[in-house]
Amino acid sequence: MKIELSFPSSHMFLGIPDVVIQELGSELPFTQTELDELSTSVIEGCTNALEHGNKMVDEVPVRLEIEFDPTRIEITIFDQGEGFDFESIDFSQAPTDLMQERGRGIYIMHTYCDELSFFRQNGSFAVRMVKIPRSRAKDGDGGDADAIARED
């Protein structure tokens, strides 16, 4: 199943992907910690898309495709920029200078997600992240999670 979302390239709208993922995740067998990790990663990806990709031009949208079933959520974030030389970067390293003010976004996505990849497609640049729930039995309130789990 699929949800699509697009919003203008302004920090003001970064709360929107967050609430969509939190709400969607509440219907799937993810823990709150897992949802927070995914949500934070998506906010990092969207921040990069609107800052580096779309250069903060309001009219250029950040676009999200959210594909999911009870076993995974896969999110692809598209911007209209050139991208960057991602092959040459080691995502697994945080800045060693702890006082450095930037440069943690990709490292956070890499740490929090089960899969992370970048690619170009039809003039867009994209980052795709996948999150898999550790346990399909959600602690406490698995009611709706069960409902969707029965579907497939």
């Binding site: 709360g15 910690t33 906010i43 990092e44 945080a94 976004g105």
Partner: protein, 114 residues
Amino acid sequence: MKIKERERDGVVILEVSGKIMGGPDSELFTNTLKTLVHQGKKRVVVDLGGVSWVNSTGLGILISGYSTLKRSNGEMKLVNVSDRIDSIFMVTKLYSVFDSYKSEDEAIASFAVE
């Protein structure tokens, strides 16, 4: 990001709410701390209880505020750090930079013993 400022026992409490995420937030936080330093107020507790999330740019804002105070021999302590924010501090190792306390009382008391 919104900031509400008050004072207790010679310590400034900044109650931050909303999202800490870069854009206009950077200036707001840094300017608030610079003004405090200028006024000679160098003991600051930042209450993150009302913050829904912080992104990596927001981490940079906190680091910049921390540095501003440090440079003037001041100190910044954090209080009411949610699980979501705590997890980012762990992952980025920033927990070793930021002093964070469970309650405002503990944070304020920590200045006294230094």
